[in-house]
Amino acid sequence: MMSENAMSVYYWGCYGWILVGFFCIAIPAGKEFYKIFKSKKPSERSK
């Protein structure tokens, strides 16, 4: 059976997990998203 400390570590650890996951995805995704929308249309790019 889990102790109170272990449960706290588990719950807050999962919170840390989502933070890590969010930043690992959000930073490159944000940059790529910005780059794509700032770029020219694909048809213009290939000219």
């Binding site: 059976m1 490159p28 790529e32 249309k41």
Partner: protein, 504 residues
Amino acid sequence: MLNGAMGYIILIIFAFVFIGISGLVSKKFPAEGVDDFVVAGRGIPFGIIAASVMISWVWTTTIMGAAEAGTWYGVSGGFNYMWGAALPFFFFIPLVLHLRKIMPKCTTFTEFIRERFGNTVSTIFFIFGLAVVLYVVTEQGVGIGIAFNTMLNIPYWVGAVVPIMIVAVYISRAGLRGSIFNDVIQFFIVCVIFIVCIPIILKSIGMDNIYNGLMDVVNNQDNPNYNPQALSMTSISGLKYGLIAAIVAMGQVLLDQGYYSKAIATTSRKDLMRAYIIGTLLGWAPIPVLSGNVFGTALISLGIGEGHGVASLSEAAPYIMNMVFGTGIGSLLFILMVFMAGMTTGGNGLAGAQALFTVDFYKKVKPDATERQQLAFGKKVTIVIGLVVAVAAVMLQGVSLLKIDIFSGILFAAPTASLFAGLMWKKTSPVVAVVSMAAGLIGGLITYFMIEDPNNAQFFGNLVALVLPYLVIVIGSLFSKYEFDFSKLKNYEPAQKVSIKEEA
């Protein structure tokens, strides 16, 4: 308290935002051909795909179902939901990486099946692929309909039909690229809601209160949620639940063209692997664990159970949101999460169906069709599928989603073995593939109906549907003289124009 008028306002705002984004995407990136429309020209980079994979795998049940699992199995509930639903991706990733390697110009998995096993088997897989999409999108519509009905008091059918049609319109206009770009926006919104709400809920209820409440669940037989294993991570019933989740999810991932389309849309195989691993393990996985812990165990720690404060344990997540944030903002945040989870999953499914119909179906029906005609057909058929799903969602009001889930597991697990074998083993013949599917389906259903205990029936029915086809394939292929030449897939040229980069 939010009222019906607020519900309609939310729906109208969502409709404007999503359809507006699809308009922007289709204006900024007009489809230059079928490949550009259904797999975004195969040029979407890692981060965007990771966000898209993560959010499209967040179903309404990832939040509400995992929260319910937390009420049933305590601290192991969300975790078991997570590994069960994540496992299929670790079958899907090597499978799709291998597919891109052996058949670089492939777009749909049914296209591969046609080249590998012939038209008959491809048609069977097309039907399975379409059934998965109809099932997945309908389930999202039902989930959103229930949430809008119970929390905003607007008619169920409006809550189910309007979101489905919004998704159908934006996928129809903007194709896979529109779906992916919408996913990224919704990834940010859902993650921010989670990141902001979770610590507030934990602080508000208090870790010590949750623990003491769970101790009562473990020790007090009069507790409405009495469960001696509520504080154990090795609960046997929880592990069994995870295994069923894995089998049910196996077909939902391996037969959903939406995931193939995204994998094929990724710039390179290396980016594809990174995006799917990070999107699943780092992005998606904490969502069900946190839902199980923070919504599910928090609810039972308060002494609330079925008939003791809530009508059903599936109300765990909205109950906790309303309790901590008040019925106004709590309802709004919860509705936002469920709506976006459903919309992104539905969009992924519809984009997959669009690819199946545009690339495969229409070319079979009209072999001399131009790419322009294919595109026009793909756009129209997306709206038609949306309408079919909307009608199905309305008809399913009040039907147990759990029962549908059980049968979907048996139905969709059966073909996965032949898909795998088709990619990996030259000795598997079309006949063996069909026999394996039939054996899995019939064996799974017989097992389900022959076992009296409903939990065991569900577990063993799904297990037989998944495992029996593998046995049939191994035995059938070993005794077969059939050999497929994989090298011919390398030079496969689809009807539509496809440009690919050479990869190692």
